[in-house]
């Protein structure tokens, strides 16, 4: 049952991604991407990572994509204002290149005998997850927190209003 679900969800995610990347209108693209992320979150859940699945929905589909939408709306990127999406001239070589790379990857995976073994169901409870995260990687958690802090400061600095920027530059 879960195997069938896996393939359905996998292809859903792929299809949504395909739709997403070919859109001209960024709003549509973001919506498709959210769609793909939901499918992906379910895949995570199937693979025994409910916590990751939850965060995928909350952080990715919920926060980051909404941020994208906010920005798009803030900049009033109506479809006519956005640059025209790429035509076949552009997509052709890129698609060929990507397909070649994909083939290479799949070939490599196929050649590797170890990769053919089935993935066991490996459930990670939030408790186990939290224990390992804070016991094994306390330093990484610190670093990532600082990273987020710097990102917040950086985003504020880069995105400050023009008037403010002018005043600061003069002083």
């Amino acid at each position: 049952m879960s195997t069938v679900l896996f393939y359905i969800l996998g292809f859903t995610a792929l299809a949504a991604t395909l739709m997403c990347i070919t859109r001209r209108n960024p709003v549509h693209a973001v919506i498709y991407l959210v769609n793909a992320f939901f499918a992906l979150a379910l895949l995570f859940y199937l693979l025994g990572a409910p916590l990751v699945a939850a965060w995928e929905v909350i952080i990715y589909a919920g926060a980051i994509m909404v941020l994208f939408l906010f920005i798009i709306m803030m900049l009033e990127l109506a479809p006519m204002h956005t640059p025209a999406g790429p035509g076949w001239k552009r997509w052709g070589p890129v698609a060929a290149l990507s397909l070649i790379l994909l083939c290479c990857t799949i070939l490599m995976v196929a050649v590797d005998t170890g990769s053919s073994q089935s993935v066991p169901f490996f459930y990670v409870s939030p408790r186990v997850f939290g224990t390992v995260l804070f016991k094994k990687y306390p330093l990484a958690v610190q670093v990532v927190s600082f990273q987020l802090l710097f990102a917040a400061v950086g985003a504020y600095y880069v995105g400050r209003s023009e008037r403010l920027a002018d005043r600061e530059d003069k002083s």
Binding site: L97, I100, L101, C104, T105, L107, M108, V111, D112
Partner: protein, 620 residues
């Protein structure tokens, strides 16, 4: 008398040189000239006052130790013996007269301070050569006169020709100096000392091969300084300098330094009979060569330059046959009459504004004093009977003839032929410059008195110089020879009959040469152009020979090294590397389009390469 007073003689000109070099331009002209002339004049007086110090063994005075290093000890020590004393007296006396003359000659030059500073410095350096009792000190003076000669030849350095002549003189004499330097080092390694006396004493222990080589090295040094074959090409060009310089440096003093060096080291040199023969041969060959060139020269000073070379060749010949006394005698008389001739020539150039003797003429009536004094000098040069040149040249011819062997007879023949040529070119000069009618087109100057009145004393000295060393056969006592004592070289054994015979022959040659010149040049001849004349005019094409044998191969080698080695090889490699890196940078610059997609494209291709490589590794 304190022997240390002897240092006054060389140091006075040095002091004057320093004063003129440092402050000359700020002093009034009269004062600057006065310092220069006065210093040399006082040197002369000092020499005369200190004359009683001379004794046969020589008086030594040491100022201080110049270099002390291990075994090497070089004191600044001068020696005052008959040889150096007589040479010193000649140098300072002639220098004084020429300095006086130069005051007049350089009257219109603005750069008088440099001139007089260099002239005084030259006198100092020359006196260092003469008085030094140490070969290194002598070498110091040797290089000093070389430098002063260079600087004074190129005195009018604004014209490239003059500067080139100075450089040429410097380089050619330097070639000889290298050999002298080698000889010095070798002598030091052999004897452990550089004292001339010590070396002369130690020379008896040397092997014959060593002696020969040393003699040849010393001879090469002497040849460079004295413009003898084969290092003679610089002297005719050196006439580019002011005339007093030619008179002082390139006639009276510096060019005789080679003779003096050989005379000083005569005890060493005389031990190698082969070496002596080479010296004599070089002297005779130079004498003949220079006399033949002088016959064809057009510039008055070049005639005199070649004649100087020729007369110095006589001195070398005398040294080579062992007659140092005769050599020194000729050196002194030559200094007097050649300085006189140069000064007279300077007057002639001044009066006519011309250098070319074919365009002078008729000066005899215009300037009788210059004419008569010049004639006196010319008679001495030509060896007219009873003049100084007659006696001194005769002494050399006699000594050569008395040598006895076939080789000496050949040398004597060459010398006699040279004497005939000498008479011929001397009277050619006299007739062309002073006889006939004026042909000068140049601007004539008035002659300053100081230039004129320095001539008669020299003329008197030149004419009467024979008394210095009147041979016994003529009723004299050979004053100079007996004064020089042990420095006079070998005893000449010749009967009075031979002496008289040779004197008669010399007179005959003189008359013959005079008549030939008179016949040819008394009526002003149109100049005949012939290949032989051109050949002689250019000094037997010596310059071309040097440039073909030495300069051009050297130049082409240098050019090959420069263009192939340096330009193409080293520079090419370095610049090629630079260009390669620049081209690579240019290529990379084009790769940085600044467009996001090209970077991402590169990223993609890199990924393909990486994946492909991993695939290949898996597959095989």
């Amino acid at each position: 008398m304190n022997p240390n007073l002897l240092f006054i003689i060389p140091l006075l000109p040095l002091a004057a040189a320093v004063v003129n070099a440092v402050a000359g331009q700020f002093l009034p002209r009269r004062l600057s000239e006065g310092i220069a002339v006065g210093a040399v004049g006082f040197s002369t007086i000092a020499t005369l006052l200190l004359w009683p110090l001379v004794d046969a063994e020589g008086v030594r005075a040491e100022l201080y130790t110049w270099i002390a290093s291990g075994d090497l000890r070089i004191p600044v020590e001068i020696v005052f013996d008959p040889l150096s004393a007589s040479m010193t007296l000649m140098v300072v006396f002639v220098s004084t007269l020429i300095h006086l003359y130069a005051v007049g000659y350089m009257r219109e030059e603005r750069d008088y301070a440099r001139f007089f500073a260099l002239l005084n410095l030259f006198v100092f350096a020359m006196l260092t050569i003469v008085l030094a009792d140490n070969l290194l000190l002598l070498f110091l003076g040797w290089e000093g006169v070389g430098f002063c000669s260079y600087a004074l030849i190129g005195y009018w350095y604004r014209e490239k020709k003059n500067a080139d002549a100075g450089r040429k003189a410097f380089l050619v004499t330097r070639t000889g100096d290298v050999f002298l330097g080698i000889a010095l080092l070798w002598l030091f390694s052999l004897t452990g000392t550089l004292s001339i006396t010590g070396i002369n004493q130690a020379a008896f222990d040397f092997g014959s091969g060593t002696l020969l080589l040393l003699t040849l090295l010393l001879l090469a040094g002497a040849c460079g300084k004295s413009a003898q074959l084969p290092l003679m090409t610089w002297l005719p060009d050196a006439m580019a300098g002011p005339t007093p310089v030619s008179a002082l440096i390139h006639a009276a003093t510096m060019v005789t330094a080679g003779v003096y060096l050989l005379a000083r080291l005569f005890p060493l040199v005389s031990l190698s009979s082969t070496g002596m023969a080479v010296i004599a041969a070089i002297g005779a060959a130079s004498a003949l060569y220079a006399a033949s060139c002088a016959v064809a020269q057009r510039e008055i000073k070049k005639v005199l330059a070649y004649s100087t070379m020729s007369q110095v060749g006589f001195m070398f010949l005398a040294i080579g046959v062992g007659a140092v006394g005769a050599a020194m005698f000729h050196l002194f008389t030559h200094a007097f009459f050649k300085a006189l001739l140069f000064m007279g020539a300077g007057c002639a150039i001044h009066l006519t504004g011309e250098n070319d003797i074919f365009r002078m003429g008729g000066l005899g009536r215009r300037a009788p004093l210059v004419f008569w004094t010049f004639l006196a000098g010319a008679l001495c040069l030509a060896g007219a009977p009873l003049t100084s040149g007659f006696f001194s040249k005769d002494a050399i011819l006699l000594a050569t003839f008395a040598g006895g062997g076939v080789f000496q007879r050949i040398l004597w023949g060459v010398a006699a032929a040279t004497a005939l040529l000498t008479v011929f070119y001397t009277f050619r000069l006299v007739y062309l410059v002073f006889a006939g009618s004026p042909r000068a087109a140049g601007e004539a100057h008035r002659l300053p008195g100081v230039m004129r009145w320095t001539l008669p004393p020299l003329a008197v000295l030149a004419l009467a110089g024979g008394l210095l060393n009147l041979p016994v056969a003529w009723g004299g006592s050979g004053v100079l020879n007996s004064f020089l004592g042990r420095f006079a070289g070998r005893e000449i054994h010749a009967s009075h009959a031979l002496e008289w015979g040779l004197a008669g022959l010399a007179t005959l040659l003189f008359v013959l040469g005079w008549l030939l010149a008179r016949l040819r040049y008394r009526p002003f001849p149109e100049e005949r152009i012939s290949p032989a004349r051109d050949f002689l005019l250019r000094g037997w094409e010596a310059d071309r020979l040097v440039s073909a044998v030495i300069v051009r191969p050297f130049t082409s080698l240098a050019r090959i090294l420069w263009q192939r080695g340096d330009r193409k090889g080293i520079d090419g490699f370095l610049e090629g590397t630079g260009h390669l890196l620049m081209a690579m940078g240019e290529g990379l610059r084009r790769a940085t389009t600044g467009r996001l997609h090209s970077y991402l494209g590169g990223f993609a291709w890199g990924l393909i390469a990486l994946l492909g490589w991993m695939l290949l590794r898996y597959a095989f």
